[in-house]
Amino acid sequence: MAEPILDDGPRRRLSLRDQIDCVPVYVVWEITLACNLKCLHCGSRAGHRRASELSTDECIDVIRQLAELGTREISIIGGEAFVRKDWLTLVRAIRDHGMDCTMQTGGYKLSRDMIEAAAGAGLLGLGVSIDGLEPLHDRLRGVPGSYLEALRVLEDCRSAGLVASVNTQITSTVMPELSDLMDVIIEAGARYWQVQLTVAMGNAVDNDAILLQPYELATLMPLLADLHLRGRELNLLLLPGNNIGYFGPYDVLWRGPDRGYYSGCPAGQNAIGLEADGTLKGCPSLATERYGAGDVRNTPIAELWATHPALQFNRDRGVEDLWGFCRGCYYAETCRGGCTWTADSLLGRRGNNPYCHHRVLKLAERGIRERIVKVEEAPSLPFATGRFALLEEPITTGIALP
């Protein structure tokens, strides 16, 4: 599974009207589940294509419907999106319907000719996943040589005039490498760098040692702040994914007033996720079992979007839907527990998210930190979740305070 967000440019920025009218501004579309990598953290357990993926004609009808609903950007992902033979046709159709098109990729076997063809078809940006320096990246991605291929893709993007971005999964071992990684991707031509915490879903549940502990945000966030400031001087914009938050002392850097503060998870309110077989969700990463909202083959997207209960959960969500620490948080009404995917996948219920810098610092004031422990494995299905227990324990070592 590729990461869904490339950057947060103006067309994707949400207005008050977008929020109230539930405009599906941003769509992330898994156009195939086939993939040529074997990532240890893959939430969708990608590899083989789904049994009944949408045909080209069905995809073009989906594009038409999304344009009518007011979608401004579609990001195509996989699996590995370019494994699908008609991917350039879909890119062109998205642009012909007046929407921006971006793509997220692992980059493995994405040739220069393909990149140039994508630029010609109207692709606006390519996000390449790089999860550490070469040994770590290749281990996490499960294919030797995938790191060097990803860097080569960044350089080919530059040659083709395509905006290149890098997505990095924040796992338990990557922190010491982030500074060197930033230098590498700048040299390779990246303009944006989005970081996202690895979420307890699919393969990441099987390999739970790669998951960051919530209390490690106390170390991570000052590091990201330093990198953000250094990146600005070097023409690289470090951006937070939806699960990097929330309202901590560094939010002003990456979600400052000029970019918009964190206004709650957009899943099902201003974002749509589509699986390759036509299953509609509020976010591409949410557990299909709990958040699948029907099949676009059988029901118009506008009808599903307006009426399906599995898409409604964020639209009128208030503090009463939160629990645990989040329920009593100062920011509860705005933040609404942050990333639905992160909390729901981890604890089996949305609305209480331990991966929050504000929360980590508040707990630290009381001498407490939180740790996750796996208590239930995830089934061998795409977007399957296990179960983790959330434990509080006394802090016995120092914690980084701003």
């Binding site: 929020q19 400052g256 000029d258 029901t299 009808e303 979007w305 409604q312 208030g318």
Partner: protein, 71 residues
């Protein structure tokens, strides 16, 4: 495929947050005393002015007012 017209969905907008002009943490619009630093959230401090936040938030205030007027 069904042709039943769907009624337009409605969502809740997030409350307006602004920066505390002393410590640059977010606070709810209208907050006088910052719950984070205890300072006057509305009085522009040095970091707030020097980092350009005053100009940015002024533009946002105008944008929000225009949006409200449009309904």
């Amino acid at each position: 495929m069904s042709e039943r017209p769907a009624s337009p969905p409605r969502g809740r907008a997030a409350p307006v947050m602004v920066l505390c002009r002393q410590c640059l943490h977010y606070v709810f619009e209208g907050t006088q005393v910052c719950p984070h630093c205890g300072g006057d959230a509305r009085a522009a401090g040095a970091r707030y002015r020097d980092d350009g936040h005053l100009a940015i938030e002024t533009i946002q205030f105008i944008d929000r007012a225009a949006e409200r007027q449009r309904g």
